[in-house]
């Protein structure tokens, strides 16, 4: 049997099943029954991406199946095999969506099934920074549980996002391995059709970040091939259905590595037979051209970005350090090179061994750096990375910053031999690795002696933080000579350009003006370039000839004009990984802001994913704009339209997050006290009428402003 016969046979089988399932569902529910996946603006995501047609009812699903049939041509050409693979994937999506009828929750812990749009938007930044260097799709059961778990762990240790389908899920569970999006191991489902949930992620990424037009299958497949670093590991036995799914994966540019040797054909860089499962990892990375940035740090536990989201529960904790209860601090200090002994790590005070199980302790670490190109402005940039560095340690958890950090070390890590000094090793290696252009020498002193911690916190750290805050306060768009471009996301969203100013950080929330400045210093030809601001066109709009020229250049001509302070006229574009999106609310002359984490409805009649789908991919959509959380309290937030006075609604959680700073800004700009009390949230209104009534009652200033359109 040829490879094509197997693909066609598998496709026919799945098609038959799908047809039966849809007919069955119609018989049961009637053809007007609604079908959709939860928390996505792109229903059904794969079918929509490939054909440009949305499916909302069983009737439309049946029609869509007819369209799928047209893809199932049977010439002996690869295009036919590819399209049959795609058809198989679409059938899988149809079968899966039927499971969600009537808001059912077909997947239970540990399986995820369908993944929300928000998950994809969160993946954007780590994927472009290489923090997540790849996406593995593991299908079927490994020859043994040990081999399966070892494979999953090997990817996890490299920071690769692992999705699991079928027998491997039970193997991982049997071994007691922690799974979940936070540790980058996501069991999707046990049926082979569950694989569509990761395909759906790849295709939505193309729509969200790549501005691929739904229905433009050619561009879609080019996007996934060029920009989504996914690959498949399929364990034997491979039946025809899996082979057909494999054809779909290969069509999208994702190589398949298998240990199947029976009745299989080899295709270079695409379908690779590797009998030795222990070599799946190396084989797959080579096939997908994934390079792992190796940070060798001499510590007794793993260090990988996959552990960044790991949470240590109290019962699993050996000791903790808590800046909210005792004196703690983390600090970068620029010193003279002569004052520093490179790679010296000193612990002043007790080690973990000397601390009681479950105890709360003080910690303060000072990372001394020296370098010819080092500037004081880079201190907070480096310091803010400590959170990521320490979190990447397996069995160590970090939150907060400055003097408010909290660290937990797990019993497991402690038993593996993890010590306080290893935190020093991690900080040393990571700083030297990432900031090699500015840091020539680095020394770490870690204090656990409570008295020393008190001294460091109050006499060294807090004065430094105060000084920095003063500097930040004076750092306004007007007070600096240059802005920076950021095109970090172009790996994913080829025509998007961020213009980062002191009062407007990157929409992902991850790049402030200081970050951009440091990035430029670290890599002068890198993603952040200087944009001058010498030729203003309209200062109120924040439009500059210099800025326009820069965005034209960096977007390869896709964008012509961008304003910094307007959401109506040439608003800044988004890659798709924005923290928040705001959109105009016409009844109140205001804007509604939703954050990525918010899953509910907004008064615009749209959820976050639906609002987010209006923009992203480097496209300008007047009236909608993606931005970072911290931008909300900026004096420059939609200044051209009147500023923050326009904000009429935010999810409660977001409102609380920004309240202090937003109220301060409102106080300063308009003399309004407790402005956030005037802003609606989901507990007040999820529809415009109730919202306007609320705003009227509160006397919200937006109601009296000019209409925005």
């Amino acid at each position: 049997m040829t490879l094509f016969d197997r693909v066609f046979g598998g496709n026919d089988a799945v098609y038959g099943l799908t047809e039966g399932a849809i007919d069955g569902a119609i018989a049961q529910y009637g053809e007007d029954k609604a079908v959709s996946f939860p928390n996505t603006a792109y229903s059904l995501p794969c079918y929509y991406a490939v054909t440009g047609t949305k499916v909302t009812t069983l009737k439309e699903l049946k029609e869509a199946l007819g369209v799928v049939k047209t893809l199932m041509t049977r010439e002996k050409r690869l295009n036919d095999a590819f399209m049959s693979g795609v058809a198989t994937a679409l059938c899988a999506e149809f079968i899966e969506v039927l499971k969600y009828i009537d808001g059912a929750t077909p997947y239970e812990e540990p399986c995820y099934g369908h993944l929300a749009d928000a998950v994809i938007r969160e993946l954007g930044v780590p994927l472009v920074t290489g923090d997540i260097p790849g996406v593995a799709v593991i299908l079927g059961a490994a020859p043994t549980t040990e081999e399966g778990v070892a494979l999953v762990k090997s990817y996890q240790a490299q920071g690769i996002l692992v999705t699991l389908v079928g027998g491997i899920i039970d193997q991982v569970a049997e071994a007691g391995m922690k799974t979940g999006a936070n540790v980058r191991v996501i069991p999707l489902g046990k049926d082979v059709t569950a694989v569509i949930h990761v395909v759906s992620v790849a295709l939505r990424a193309a729509l969200i970040f790549g501005n691929v037009k739904p229905g433009d299958a050619g561009t879609l497949m080019k996007y996934t091939m060029d920009r989504v670093p996914a690959f498949v590991n399929a364990f034997k036995p491979l039946d025809d259905v899996i082979v057909a799914c494999g054809a779909g994966a290969i069509a999208l540019g994702f190589p398949v590595v298998t240990n199947e040797t029976e009745n299989i054909f080899r295709v270079p860089k695409s379908l690779i037979v590797q009998e030795d499962v222990s070599k799946f990892n190396a084989t797959s990375l080579e096939a997908r051209d994934i390079k792992i940035k190796i940070t060798n740090i001499d510590i007794p536990v793993a260090f990988a970005s996959a552990f960044e989201g790991e949470i240590i529960r109290r019962k699993d904790m050996q000791v903790e350090f808590d800046g909210s209860r005792v004196d703690c601090a983390e600090l970068v200090q620029t010193c003279d090179a002569s004052e520093i002994e490179d790679h010296k790590i000193t612990v002043v005070g007790p080690e973990v061994d000397d601390m009681e199980l479950g105890s709360k302790n003080s910690i303060a670490y000072v990372v001394k750096v020296a370098g010819k190109n080092m500037q004081a402005d880079f201190e907070p940039v480096i310091e803010r990375k400590f959170h990521n560095y320490i979190n990447c340690i397996e069995g160590v958890y970090h939150t907060g910053q400055r003097d408010m950090q909290r660290i937990r070390i797990s019993i497991e890590a402690f038993n593996a031999g993890f010590k306080i000094k290893h935190i020093g090793e991690v900080l040393y290696a990571s700083v030297k690795n990432e900031f090699d252009a500015v840091v020539d020498k680095c020394e770490v002193v870690i204090y656990t002696d409570p008295a020393e911690c008190t001294r460091i916190r109050h006499e060294v750290a807090i004065p430094t933080f105060d000084k920095r805050d003063e500097r930040l306060d004076t750092l306004t768009d007007e007070s600096v000579d240059v802005y920076y471009s950021c095109i970090l996301c172009q790996a994913f969203s080829p025509s998007h350009v961020c213009v980062v100013t002191p009062e407007r950080l990157g929409l992902c929330g991850a790049v402030s003006w200081l970050d951009a400045k440091a990035t430029h210093q670290l890599d002068p030809n890198g993603p952040c370039q200087i944009i001058t601001k010498e030729r203003p066109i309209d200062e109120n709009l924040g439009s500059y000839e210099d800025v326009d020229e820069a965005v034209q250049k960096f977007s390869q001509g896709a964008l012509e004009h961008v304003t910094l302070y307007s959401i109506m006229q040439d608003p800044m574009t988004s890659c798709g990984c924005f923290e928040c999106i705001c959109g105009i609310e016409p009844f109140s002359n205001g804007v509604v802001i939703a954050n990525r984490e918010y899953a509910g409805m907004t008064p615009l009649g749209m959820t976050f994913p639906e609002m987010a789908s209006m923009t992203g991919g480097g496209v300008q959509t007047p009236g909608f704009m993606g931005h970072g959380k911290h931008f909300i309290s900026s004096k420059k937030f939609m200044k051209a339209e009147g500023g923050i006075e326009r904000i009429v609604w935010m999810p409660k959680e977001l409102k609380e997050f920004v309240a202090e700073r937003l109220n301060k800004t409102a106080q300063e700009l308009y003399g309004i006290e407790n402005f956030t009390d005037m802003i609606g949230d989901e507990t007040v209104a999820e529809d415009p009428e109730t919202l306007v009534a609320f705003l009227t009652e509160k006397g919200h200033p937006a109601l009296g402003m000019d209409p925005m359109m």
Binding site: T2, L3, A81, F265, R266, P268, S270, K279, T283
Partner: protein
């Protein structure tokens, strides 16, 4: 997104017509007019049934006169003519090869000619059982030069190169009695057999035609290719451009034309020197542009990225641009028309080889011993001629395409190494290509070769067939004027992947190759034999089982018939778009299209309907796949 667009045959023709207008102003002749004068062609000649081997005739076979004066029938006459045609081609290729072997003998440290690929020389020496350890590379080169020349006249044994073929192929040759002996002997034998009063049995004539062909492909041509690589470097992928637009109106344009790289390499070397560039500037030009026509162009394009001005039927066009200071020719496929044509312009028509002497040319005899000096003389002459240009006659069609060329077998294997996975695959083999073929991602391969022939709208058959094959996921290896047609059209631009079926497109993307791979000049079809052999060895299949065929849709020269014979005799079905003057004998035609299959497992297909020719190739490839169950 992509601005890539093929150049069409219509655009080629429009450019040619514009050039012919220039020609009309100066009273130039052109092949387009001479074709008209020569049409209709002699029917007896076309069918191969005119015999003028002795002076009793010429005898022509008709239903009323079925035998010549000596009694030879149509089958004997057609068969003899076919064999003589083959011998002409084999002699030509092989003698070119011999010249290269002689040049190798002149190579010396720091000399005009040097050994640029010593590894290859050592590899060949080892194949031939020559001791290489501790030997000076130039001593080895001279020893190999002698040995290679002896291949032409060895008194016993068969060609050394045959051992490169799979054992099965060697066995077939042995059983069929067609293993070539000394290269020159097979030509002599062919001429002897076809003398008045000798063989008139079609089977014996065709057998010798195959053997003589093999003495070319697995003899003289292989010497030419392999030792050219030793001397000038084994080609590897390199960017270049093709079509008349590569000529530069501000520069001294020197066009090299012919086949033997010994001359063109030296011209390129010299023209690249500061001394000559300064000299060109002193004559009012901005620099020197070398471009090429025909296979000498392929040679320097493959190794140096020198742009290709055009192929066989475009040779007059380069002069018609009015911007050609010198057209420097070595051997083969040179139109005698260039002499009178050059007189209509300022162009110097420079012949260099005693093999190719023509009226109305300046003869500067080129010899391996004084290569640099002669090349300098030629380049200087061209520079000095710049001032004689007539500006009002200058028109260079603004038409060219990008091309990635240089796919020797070694380069192909290296490219294939790039798609292996070091965790599972070995490198240095053709296996990745075989995997693409067996899995069906690529359906097969076609070797597109051969000339232009006014009997077919120039380049149209090459280009249309290629487009059709690419769309059907069939990868193309090309050489000679076929390769240049592809390059001019844009099919050697990597962007041409978008014209391919999904399978071949994916392969092009992963391997970063254009879908049509330029393997070199017509002599370099020997590379294709080696590639086929490697594919067979790596797959464990016979060459004839591989879904690979050869095609010469616009062929015209005797060399092409010799090539066809060795390609068929190597086990590759060969598809022709022009009849090789055998339609006058059903026995000879039957042998060529079917009979020889019993000996060598392959045969010819002749089909003048080019679209149908493409269908037949695809059909044959699919038949071979079906037989293998892939």
């Amino acid at each position: 997104m992509s601005e890539f667009k093929l150049t069409t045959v219509e655009e080629f023709e429009a450019a040619t017509n514009r050039l012919l207008e220039t020609g009309a102003k100066v009273g130039a002749d052109a092949w387009q007019f001479r074709v008209k004068n020569q049409t209709p062609h002699c029917k007896f000649g076309e069918q191969g049934i005119c015999c003028r081997i002795c002076s009793m005739g010429p005898c022509r076979i008709t239903p009323k006169a079925p035998r010549g004066i000596c009694g030879c029938d149509a089958h004997g006459i057609v068969g003899r003519n076919f064999l003589r045609f083959t011998a002409g081609g084999a002699a030509t290729h092989s003698d070119h090869g011999r010249e290269i072997c002689i040049t190798l003998g002149h190579a010396k440290e720091g000399g005009d000619y040097q050994v640029k690929d010593p590894e290859k020389l050592i590899r060949i020496a080892k194949e031939w059982g020559v001791e290489t350890e501790g030997k000076d590379i130039y001593d080895l080169a001279h020893e190999m030069s002698d040995l290679a020349q002896e291949e032409y006249g060895k008194i016993r044994g068969i060609s050394r190169w045959l051992k490169r073929a799979p054992q099965h192929t060697q066995d077939l040759w042995h059983e069929a009695g067609i293993e070539p002996r000394a290269i020159d002997r097979e030509v002599s034998c062919a001429l002897h057999m076809t003398h008045m009063g000798n063989t008139c049995k079609p089977e014996a004539l065709i057998r010798q035609a195959l053997r003589n062909g093999l003495s070319d492909g697995w003899g003289g041509s292989m010497c030419g290719t392999e030792f050219s690589d030793v001397l000038f470097g084994t080609p590897k992928p390199i960017e270049t451009e093709a079509n008349l637009g590569v000529m530069n109106a501000e520069n001294v344009n020197i066009v090299v034309h012919g086949h033997d790289p010994s001359l063109s390499e030296m011209i390129c070397e010299v023209a690249d020197s500061k001394e000559m560039i300064d000299y060109a500037k002193s004559m009012g030009a901005k620099g020197i542009t070398i471009s090429g026509v025909c296979c000498t162009s392929n040679e320097v394009a493959m190794r140096r990225g020198i742009p290709m001005a055009g192929n066989f039927l475009q040779q007059e066009n380069v002069v018609l641009t009015g911007a050609c200071e010198a057209i420097v020719v070595d051997v083969q496929c040179i139109f005698p028309a260039l002499g009178p044509l050059s007189k209509c312009f300022h162009t110097k028509f420079i012949t260099t080889s005693p093999i190719c002497q023509m009226p109305d040319s300046e003869f500067i005899e080129f010899s391996a011993g004084a290569a640099g000096e002669k090349a300098r003389q030629i380049v200087k002459l061209a520079c000095e001629n710049f001032k004689n240009r007539k500006p009002d006659l200058v028109y260079i069609p603004d038409m060219k395409q990008k091309a990635t060329v240089g796919y020797s077998v070694e380069a192909i294997v290296k490219t294939l190494d790039g798609v292996t996975n070091s965790q599972v695959d070995e490198t240095g083999t053709t296996k990745p290509l075989l995997e693409c073929i067996t899995s069906g991602v690529i359906r097969g391969a076609v070797a597109m070769v051969g000339c232009n022939n006014p009997k077919i709208r120039p380049d149209s058959a090459h280009i249309e067939l290629m487009k059709k094959l690419l769309a059907n996921d069939i990868v193309i290896i090309a050489s000679g004027c076929s390769a240049q047609a592809a390059a001019k059209a844009g099919l050697m631009d990597k962007a041409a992947k978008d014209l391919c079926g999904a399978g071949l497109k994916r392969v092009c993307e992963l391997a970063d190759i254009p879908p049509v791979l330029h393997m070199g000049s017509c002599v370099d079809i020997s590379r294709m034999l080696i590639l086929a052999s490697e594919l067979a060895k790596d797959s464990g299949l016979n060459i004839s089982q591989l879904p690979v065929v050869g095609c010469a849709p616009e062929w015209m020269s005797e060399k092409a018939v010799s090539i066809g014979n060795y390609v068929v005799a190597t086990g590759l079905d060969t598809f022709l778009g022009v009849d090789p003057y055998v339609s006058g004998s059903d026995q000879v035609a039957g042998l060529l299209t079917e009979g020889v299959r019993d000996w060598v497992e392959a045969a010819y297909t002749v089909e003048k309907d080019i679209d149908k020719l493409g269908d037949l190739m695809i059909e044959r490839i699919e038949e071979k796949r079906a037989a293998l169950g892939i």
